[in-house]
């Protein structure tokens, strides 16, 4: 029976100090590792007969603007289908040098997911065969899911802040709010 502790022990046994830590939320283990070894870890999890994480459910990034030096966290969600078991792998990157090796040679689905991840967070997947924007317009010159970019469209000029409850005041005839 596969469980989180078994996976963690296996990884620590193999990679030692390069496994930085772990956390368990909602019965799912998230393991932090050295970004230089991301491919090696994925390959090990793939090849090992007991682990056999051979299905990549998801790949995404998270932006933590306050964690200086490790702002972008690339997250892999791996799945062992025969044993119905998920784990997460996390690799922190410096936002000024967001390079990580591509997993598209190992998991074909990573090709699309890494393009999407690049599109929204600007993570540079080294070795990806076609790292261009996939969801957003080609002319876009920023990575919109990074936290420094507000959700609202900044190109609008017709927006009246008063109507959105920011500044100003409403005047309902005789009284104002």
């Amino acid at each position: 029976m596969l469980n989180s502790k078994f996976v963690l022990d296996k990884l620590i046994e193999k990679f030692g100090e390069s496994v930085f830590g772990y956390e368990e939320q909602f019965d799912m283990m998230a393991i932090y590792g050295d970004k230089e070894l991301n491919l090696k870890m994925l390959q090990f999890l793939y090849d090992d007969e007991d682990l056999a994480f051979r299905f990549m459910t998801d790949l995404t990034a998270i932006h933590y603007p306050n964690n200086k030096g490790e702002e972008l966290v690339v997250t892999y969600l791996l799945y062992n289908m025969p044993k119905n078991f998920h784990i997460r792998l996390k690799f922190a990157l410096d936002i000024n040098k967001p390079d990580i090796y591509t997993a598209s040679k190992l998991h074909a689905t990573a090709n699309w997911l890494e393009r999407e991840c690049y599109d929204f967070y600007g993570v540079n997947f080294v070795g990806h065969p076609n790292l261009i924007r996939v969801m957003n317009v080609d002319e876009m010159d920023y990575f919109p899911m990074r936290k420094e970019f507000p959700l609202e469209d900044q190109t609008r000029t017709d927006k009246d802040d008063e109507m959105f409850g920011r500044g100003g005041h409403f005047n309902f005839g005789k009284f104002s709010v």
């Binding site: 969801m135 957003n136 317009v137 919109p144 959700l151 469209d153 900044q154 609008r156 927006k159």
Partner: protein, 190 residues
């Protein structure tokens, strides 16, 4: 021998549009040509539905038998811009979709009209975000805006009727007027 036993029933609910004003006499009738063309155009608009989200679902109800858009002469919906008169944009248009929409508009032949159905097509609606076009009038000129999120079929029909008013009363020379050329030029369409 002609059998005519079945009583002939005429559908008295069928409405026929009124004739334009004119001078009638024995064997002739004189009226403004533009009025006749306006009448014909108004009652035979071919809509091109460009439906991307829930407003499109409302439009499906509008086309259905309960609301019956065909009553207004818009029987023939087509998905080819070359043959259609009225571009109906229904739903959220993302920035990535904008060039496609513009291309569809360019492919339509004059005279052409555009109706923006619903909040998203009119102004971006609730999607005030980096990926959504804040109103299709940023890329193509719009004749009628239908408010609502989504608008009820009645509202869409009202929008169509406002388009009919425009079509009926449009000057035949409007499309070659300097104002119209200037308008298209401001959108980069010529």
């Amino acid at each position: 021998m002609i059998h005519n036993k079945r009583p002939v029933t005429h559908n008295t609910n069928v409405k026929i549009v009124d004739m334009p004003e004119g001078v009638q006499g024995e064997g002739f009738m004189a009226m403004q040509f533009s009025k006749v063309i306006g009448l014909a155009r108004k009652n035979s608009i071919w809509p091109l539905p460009f439906a991307t989200s829930c407003c499109g679902i409302e439009f499906m109800a509008t086309m259905g038998s309960t609301y019956d858009l065909s009553r207004f002469g818009s029987e023939r919906l087509a998905f080819t811009p070359r043959q259609c008169d009225l571009l109906m944009v229904m739903g959220t248009i993302s920035k990535k979709m904008a060039p496609v929409l513009r291309q569809v508009y360019i492919q339509m032949a004059e005279p052409r009209w555009v109706v923006a159905v619903g909040a998203c097509a009119s102004s971006g609606g609730i999607f005030d975000t980096y990926s959504v076009l804040q109103g299709i009038d940023q890329v193509i000129p719009v004749d009628v805006y239908v408010p609502g999120c989504p608008p009820r079929p009645e509202a869409i029909i009202d929008g169509i009727m406002r388009v009919q008013d425009l079509v009926e009363n449009e000057s035949l020379r409007r499309r070659s007027s300097p104002e119209y050329v200037e308008l298209l030029k401001s959108y980069g369409i010529s």
